[in-house]
C-alpha cells in the first residue's frame, strides 16, 4: 500500500568492477565479466516478477555497485526502464569517472536517469594510488562536463578522506578542486577499515581519528562556505538537491533491492539477497526466492534504530529522547544544539554521532 506521498525506493546492485579498491568490503567481483549478460537478464526477470506481484511505483531508484558504468549502457537502461516509477522519480546511477562519456549519459538519460553519483575519491594522484583506484583525476573534469552537456538536473561527487599519506593539504586540495566543479551535492566519507579487506591487514595504513576529524572540519567548513548544507553526517547539498533515495533509508521507509547482496526493507522487515552473482542468477532462473536471510525488528529495536538514523540528519531528534542529565551534558559539551523544538548534532557532535547515539533512550 504505497501511495504517491509514501516514498518507495528500488535499489539495483551491479557487482562488477574493473579492479577492487583495497578498502572496499562491498559484494563486487573483478573476474566475472562473463556473467554480465546473464546477470542483467536475471535482474529484468526478477524485477518483472516483483512488478507482477504488485510492486508499487518507485519514487526513487538507485543503481549502485560495483561499477554500473562497466556494463553496456543500453542494457542497463533496459533494466532501469523495466522499473515502474512515479512521474517525479529520482533515478540515480553510480559512475566511475573514467567511464562517463556524453554517449553513456545519453543512454542513461533515455532510460530516465536524472542523477549520477561520480566516485571521485581524491583529486591528488598519490592518494588515488594509495586507495588502489586506477582512474585519473583529470577524468573527473570531463565527466562533469559530460553531465552538464547532457543536461542531467543534478549530480553528486563522492570523496574519501584519511588514506595513508594524505596530508591535510592534499585533502584541502581535493575539497577545493571538487568545489570548482560547482557540484549540487557532495558526499565525503571517512575512510573506514572494514574487516576482511586488504587494508584491514595493514595496520600502518589505518586512518587516525584525529587526522580524520581535522579533515571533516575542513570539508564541512568549505562546503558550508560554498553554499552546500550538511544534511546527513557525510552528505552536503544545495537546497533541493538532497538525495531522496538515501533519505528514504534514513527515515526507515520502504525499499526493494534487486541483484546479489542487495538489501530490502518493507513494513519493519529487512532482508538481504544471496551474496554472489552466480547464486543470484541460478535462483532467479529457477524461479526461487533470492533472499539469503532477514530480520524483523521488534517495536523497541525498530524505534531505537529509527532514532540512531534520525540523529544523524539535519532535522535532528526531539530532546525527550535523551535523559535530562545526558541532554544537559551533550548541550553543554557542544555536541548538540537546540533548533526550535528539536536538538541537532553540531559539527563536533556529528563526528561523535555513535557516542551520542549511545545516550538515546
Amino acid at each position: 500500500m504505497t501511495s504517491a506521498d509514501q516514498p518507495f525506493g528500488v535499489y539495483v546492485h551491479v557487482p562488477f568492477c574493473a579492479s577492487k579498491c583495497d578498502y572496499c568490503a562491498f559484494a563486487t567481483w573483478t573476474d566475472r565479466h562473463h556473467l554480465v549478460d546473464v546477470y542483467l537478464d536475471a535482474l529484468e526477470i526478477d524485477i518483472a516478477r516483483a512488478v507482477a506481484a504488485g510492486m508499487p511505483l518507485a519514487t526513487t531508484v538507485f543503481v549502485g555497485g560495483g561499477t554500473p558504468t562497466l556494463v553496456p549502457p543500453e542494457r542497463l537502461g533496459a533494466v532501469i526502464r523495466s522499473i515502474p516509477v512515479t512521474g517525479d522519480a529520482e533515478i540515480s546511477v553510480e559512475c566511475n569517472p573514467d567511464d562517463v562519456t556524453h554517449d553513456l549519459l545519453e543512454h542513461y538519460g533515455d532510460a530516465g536517469v536524472n542523477r549520477v553519483s561520480i566516485g571521485v575519491q581524491s583529486m591528488v594522484g598519490h592518494v588515488l594510488g594509495t586507495l588502489g583506484r586506477r582512474h585519473d583525476q583529470r577524468n573527473v573534469a570531463s565527466a562533469v562536463e559530460a553531465v552538464r552537456s547532457v543536461g542531467l538536473p543534478t549530480f553528486n561527487l563522492d570523496i574519501i578522506y584519511g588514506a595513508a599519506g594524505e596530508s591535510q593539504d592534499d585533502w584541502e586540495h581535493t575539497v577545493r578542486s571538487v568545489l570548482e566543479f560547482d557540484p549540487p551535492h557532495v558526499s565525503a566519507y571517512a575512510l573506514t577499515v572494514e574487516a576482511g579487506t586488504p587494508l584491514a591487514g595493514q595496520v600502518d595504513r589505518h586512518p587516525d581519528d584525529d587526522d580524520q576529524a581535522d579533515k571533516y572540519e575542513v570539508v564541512d567548513t568549505l562546503m558550508t562556505a560554498a553554499g552546500l548544507e550538511n544534511y546527513e553526517v557525510s552528505n552536503w547539498a544545495r537546497p533541493g538537491h538532497e538525495c531522496r533515495h538515501n533519505l528514504l533509508y534514513w527515515r526507515q521507509q520502504d525499499y526493494l533491492g534487486f541483484g546479489c547482496a542487495s538489501h530490502s526493507h518493507r513494513d519493519g522487515r529487512r532482508w538481504w539477497n544471496v551474496r554472489t552473482p552466480e547464486r543470484y542468477v541460478d535462483l532467479v532462473r529457477a524461479g526461487a526466492a533470492t533472499e539469503s536471510a532477514g530480520e524483523t525488528l521488534d517495536t523497541d529495536t525498530r524505534r531505537m534504530e529509527g532514532l540512531q538514523l534520525a540523529v544523524r540528519l539535519r532535522d535532528g531528534v526531539s530532546p525527550e529522547v535523551f535523559a535530562p542529565h545526558d541532554l544537559d551534558e551533550l548541550l553543554r559539551g557542544g555536541l548538540l544544539r537546540r533548533d526550535h523544538d528539536r536538538v541537532v548534532l553540531t559539527r563536533t557532535g556529528r563526528l561523535m554521532a555513535n557516542a551520542v547515539s549511545m545516550r538515546l533512550r
Partner: protein
Amino acid sequence: MELSRIRNFSIIAHIDHGKSTLSDRILEITGAVESRDMREQYLDSMDLERERGITIKAQNVRVPWRDHVFHLIDTPGHVDFGYEVSRSLAACEGVVLVVDAAQGIEAQTLANCYLALEHDLEIVAALNKIDLPAADPDRYAMEIETVLGIPAEDILRISAKTGEGIPELLDAVIDKIPAPTGNIDAPLQALIFDSQFDQYRGVVSSVRVVNGKMRAGSKLRFMQAGADHEAIEIGKRAPATTPVDELGPGEVGYLIAGIKDVGDARSGETVTTASHGSTEALPGYRDPKPMVFSGLFPIDGDDFETLRESIEKLKLNDASITYTPESSGALGFGFRCGFLGLLHMEIVKERLEREFGLALIATAPSVQYRVHRTDGELVVVDNPADLPEAQKIDFIEEPYFRVNIITPKEYTGPLMDLCQTRRGEMQKMEYLSPERVELHYEIPLAEVVVDFFDQLKSRTQGYASLDYELSGYRRSNLAKVDLLLNGIAADAFSTIVHRDKAFDYGRRMCEKLKELIPRQMFDVPIQAAIGGKVISRETVKARRKDVTAKCYGGDISRKRKLLEKQKEGKKKMKSIGRVEVPGDVFISALKLDD
C-alpha cells in the same frame, strides 16, 4: 602401629625445584599409586595450584617403604603461608630438603629450613635434577654446607624425573629421621595442620596424633575453638582415602567431624576427647593475621550479592580471609578484604572470578596503619578512605617487614637500589658462597605489597628469591593522596604514601591514568591532591571521532548491531565523575613502574 616403623616428614623445596615431581615419584616407587593412575603432580589438586605450580593447601599421604610407613606431609610453597608451613612442620619429625642442582638454595627454602631447625626437625638434604646438563651438585652441596651446616658428603644426589637416587633417599629417611614418640595411654592430643571444605562431607581436616588414640565415632573436643564434635569418620590417605577405626600416636590421617566452616577447625587446633581429655593444648597455635587489605568490587553492581555468597563459600575453605562490606563512591558496593599477603590476595581474587564467574576490581592493596589521633585515641586503619582528617592526626605508625633476599652477587647493586627506593634500611649482607649473597633489609610493608616481587624478579632475571616476616611498627611521615577524575575523587585510587614520595606518586598516577583512560566525549581532567591541594594535573583530551561514515541500505543493520555491542561493552565500565573507566585500568594503574 609400632611407632618405630613410622616416619613423618615434609619436603621443603623452592617452586620449580621439583617437589611435586619428587612426591609423584615417591608415590610411584613405593607402589602407593599404580603408574597407570599417575597423574602429573598428584598432590597438587586445585587447578590454580597446577597452573601456578605451587601448593596452596597442604595435603598428606601415607606410603609404605621397607616395612615402614611414611607420612608425607605437603607444605604450602609460598611466603604468604608461613604459618601454615609451621603447622605442617609441627606434624613432622624431619624434612627432606630438595634443592635444584643447577640453581642452589633459595631464600624461602632457607627460611623454611630455619623453621624446621626451630622445630628440632632432622634434615635430609638432596640435590635434585642431577640429570640436567647445567647441574653443578658439588658447588651447591658446598653452599648448603655453608648455610645449613649439613656436611656436603651427606647430601644425596637425585633425579626426581628419572627416579635415580630415590630409593636411597627413602632409605635415608628411615635412617636419619627419628620415629615419632608418643604415649598411647595418655589422653588424646592431635594436631590439625590443615582443613579443607568438601561440599559433600563438610570440613575434612588433616590430623597428626601426638598422644593417645583417636577413635571413629567418639566425641571430640576442639580445644582452641572450644567446641565438641563427633568423629564421623577418621581415616588415612594412601593416597585414596580409607576409613579406619582408630589412629594412634605418630599416625597421620584425616578427620571428618560434621564441621561446616574451616574457621572452626583451623590449622594449629588441638583435638582431644570430650571426656577425660587432655587439659593441655599443643603449642604454636595462633590466629593467622591478615597483612594486606584491598577492596573487592563487582564490575557489575548487580553482582554484589553473588560476591557476598562467593566469599562466604570461599571462606569455608580459607579461614584466613577477612571481609567486611565497603561502599565506594567510585566503585559502588563491595567488600574490604584482608589477606595473608599479595599472592594470597591474587589467588582469592582469581578463585572468585574463576569459580564463581565474577568480574572483579581490586583496589590498591593497603596495609594496617596505626593512627594516633591528637585526642590520644589510637585507630587502626586499613583503608585510606578511613584515614582521619590531617589536623586530627598526631602521628601514624606503619608496619615494617624484615626482608631477606638471596641473589647471585651480580644483581646486588640493582637490588640495593630497589630496596633503597622502597625506603628500605639494610641490616646485613652475607656471602653464602663466592657467587651468592643474602641481603637483610627492613622495609615498610606498604612498599613491599605494591609490585616489589615483580620488580625483584625483573631486576634479577628471576634469579633472586625473597622471604619476609613482620618485624614491627614504626612512626612514619605519611600522607593520603587522592586522585580526582573530572573533579570527583576516585576513592579506589586513594593511597597512603610517605610524604617524600607523595608528589612523585601523584604525578606518576596522573600520567598513568592519562595513558590508561580511554578518550571520552569530553576533556577529562585528572588531578592528584593531598587534603584538597592539587599537586599534579593531566588532561585526557576529548575523543574527536566516533561515527559510522556510511549508513545506507546494507549498513543499517550492521550499525545497529555495532551500537548494541558498544552498549554491552559500556556495562563493563565503571563510571566515575561521569568518566567511563574500564575495569582493568584500576589494576594497570596500580602497577607503577620504577
